[in-house]
Amino acid sequence: MSAAIAMERLEPAPERPPADVGLPLRVATIRRVVPETPDTSTYWLTLADPAERARFRFEPGQFDMLTVPGVGESAISISSDPAHPERLAHTVRAVGRVTRALGALGSGDRIGLRGPFGRPWPMAEAEGGDLLIVAGGLGLAPVRPAIFRAMRARDRYRRVVVLIGARGPEHLLFGGEFDGWGQWMRDRELEVALSVDVPTDDWPYGVGVVTTLFDGARIEPQRTTALVCGPEIMMCFAAHDLVVRGMSPDRIHVCIERNMQCGVRLCGHCQLGPLFVCSDGPVFPFGEVVDHLEAGR
């Protein structure tokens, strides 16, 4: 029943102050739903208001709060190219109340969107050196805008290395476009390596956790900035491995997932030590959060 509400036209009241504390709730239209894996789909959205659509900008690593009216709101990273902020991809795994309700919606349906929120990947800071992007599972979605950004400004970086891990080949995101995407990366001298925990018989790439790709990646720790995104345990292992290889914890960046409800450091749910992950993060230098993560805070 609640999903039925979202099927209706959802219009903002004109000329009113923000509808919520923090950024205003905007109306967005689902343009396309692309299934990625058995439980994950990418929702392509456009803001319903043409002026808002033209104004909207985001940085790689930022997230939006997506609302299914009457059901709730969920923090979802933007997974599309920041050079095209007029159409926004959100790659969603249907594991919670809101994300499952989203799964009942399709092209033409309208939902609510607040954003963008949060501290992005340090793309400018990484310029001049090597960029090492390490993604595990659904963690590929939040770093995908960073890959696009690096591709579009390829000459600002030396080597760009993308290491992607997943449970199995069927869990690789963006599979529908993966061959073309990989080719695009190789054409622009991006180095891509894949690994899965559980391969199929015809899997031609690496086997094992994503950190097993480090040895072949010829990492030069002094001039590398790492963007690491995936399950927290994977990020901690990857970051520690990179530290052992000589990287500074301050040049290893991780993307932390917490229960984010307001997005504007008021609701308190996403606290990590003194940090509000929603706005101090979600991207942090590993050195800034390692003590808090390991203390289990």
Binding site: M1, E8, A19, G70, E73, S74, G96, H269, G296, R297
Partner: protein, 408 residues
């Protein structure tokens, strides 16, 4: 600890604390006196000015904060006894109005209500609209009898809701319209420790009028121009030197009676470096994770954002509701287990937030020494004993923590 009295950050807008000044900042402002009828007239004047007057009143065997019409609604001749998990009222041998320590309520319940609608989605004429929730004018509260600890708690919540990059408009509207008739504390509870947090028993900032109850009436200090107007309207006369001396003596005696003197020096750092201390597990054995402490705490601000659909599906609304970091769902992440799955980790989060990370987030600690979390803990856990235990066993690590360090 940082004295909370100087709660204002450099560069904050002047309206931030509503022109609340340090005590006795206006050397020429006379101290006033009101006998009981004059104090009654003051309450009437606040109502006449359109305020919803909120004060202590007896309900269900406890002193709560609620609407008060006049003197007869205030708790006359009632004292209170407080202990870990213990609260009771007792009859005093006088007819004091503010003769008890604060009850479970604080101004939080009014300025940041337990449940509040933020937005509504409806479809008049078949067209769905998103609308903000504001129903007419925000209430204008006049708080009567807030003690120094609760006044400081308001200033701390100001920092939470108004001091960051995102201003909380619903809070701001209620806060800006509020009037504070504070009361210097003359009868602290046995769980109080405001002298150690630097937050009481004197009201130092954040009031329009601050009174001290003595035999025969109230000695009143002016905090703002509106406070002076209200006192004038009530017919408050200038206080005599004896009355002023009696009021000073009453509050000084209250300060002397607060015998809980925790060592809070460097407590934030102590807590940060003891995340793996076994004391947390020992406390978790007793803690019921009921969330009473977070509900009665006058500064706890965490809340859920909740969407609900009406039974007809024609409307949906977004609300916020007080939440407690003691609940397992608080750190729920879709598709995973809670971040803080153990009771020990949740107790540690609450206390570490109050005394360590709160300070890093907002420049002041989150504890005002009111003792409510001790009084209303059904298990009688005393945070000062927990803090003392952590300090005494500084550096001890539990098994898991040693394991984590080895992995690292």
């Amino acid at each position: 600890m940082v004295p909370l009295a100087s709660c204002r950050k450099a560069g904050e807008p002047a309206t931030f604390l509503r022109e609340h000044r340090e005590r006795k900042s206006e050397g020429t402002e006379p101290v006033r006196f009101m006998d009981r009828p004059a104090f009654g007239r003051l309450l009437a004047e606040l109502a006449r000015r359109g305020y919803a007057v909120i004060g202590p009143t007896l309900r269900g065997g406890a002193i709560v904060l609620d609407h008060v019409e006049g003197l007869e609604d205030l708790p006359r001749g009632l004292g209170s006894r407080h202990g870990p998990g213990v609260y009771s009222l007792l009859r005093r041998d006088d007819d004091r109005l503010f003769g008890q320590a604060p009850g479970p309520d604080s101004a939080k319940r009014f300025l940041f209500p337990p449940r509040e609608r933020l937005a509504t989605v409806s479809r008049p004429g078949g067209r769905l609209t998103v609308d903000r929730a504001a129903d007419g004018e925000p209430p204008r509260y006049a708080f009567v009898g807030l003690r120094a600890c609760d006044l400081q708690a308001v200033l701390i919540q100001d920092r939470v809701f108004l001091g960051g990059p995102y201003r909380d408009e619903p809070y701001e509207a209620r806060r800006d319209g509020a009037f504070f008739l504070a009361a210097n504390c003359t009868d602290p509870g046995q769980t109080c420790f405001c002298t150690s947090t630097g937050t009481g028993p004197w009201c130092r900032a954040g009031f329009d009028v601050a009174v001290t109850e003595i035999d025969g009436g109230m000695v009143a200090e002016v905090g703002t121009a509106e406070g002076r107007e209200v006192l004038d309207a009530a017919g408050a006369r200038e206080a005599s030197p004896d009355e002023i001396a009696a009021s000073d003596r009453a509050v000084r005696q209250a300060a002397d009676r607060i015998d809980r003197r925790p060592d809070l020096r460097g407590i934030g750092e102590v807590l940060y470096r003891n995340a793996g201390n076994p004391v947390w597990d020992e406390i978790a054995e007793r803690c019921l994770a009921c969330g009473n402490c977070t509900a009665v705490c006058p500064t706890c601000f965490c809340h859920d954002v909740v969407d609900t659909a009406s039974i007809t599906g024609q409307e949906a609304e977004r609300s916020r509701e007080w939440a407690s970091c003691f609940s397992e769902e608080f750190t729920h992440v879709a598709g995973g287990s809670p971040i803080r799955a153990s009771g020990a980790s949740r107790y540690r989060q609450w206390l570490t937030h109050k005394f360590a990370s709160w300070r890093d987030q907002f420049g002041v600690p989150g504890c005002v020494g009111c003792g409510r979390c001790v009084t209303w803990c059904p298990a009688g856990i005393d945070i000062l004993e927990v803090l003392a235990a952590i300090r005494a066993r500084d550096g001890e690590r539990d098994h898991d923590e040693r394991h984590r360090t080895a992995v690292r």
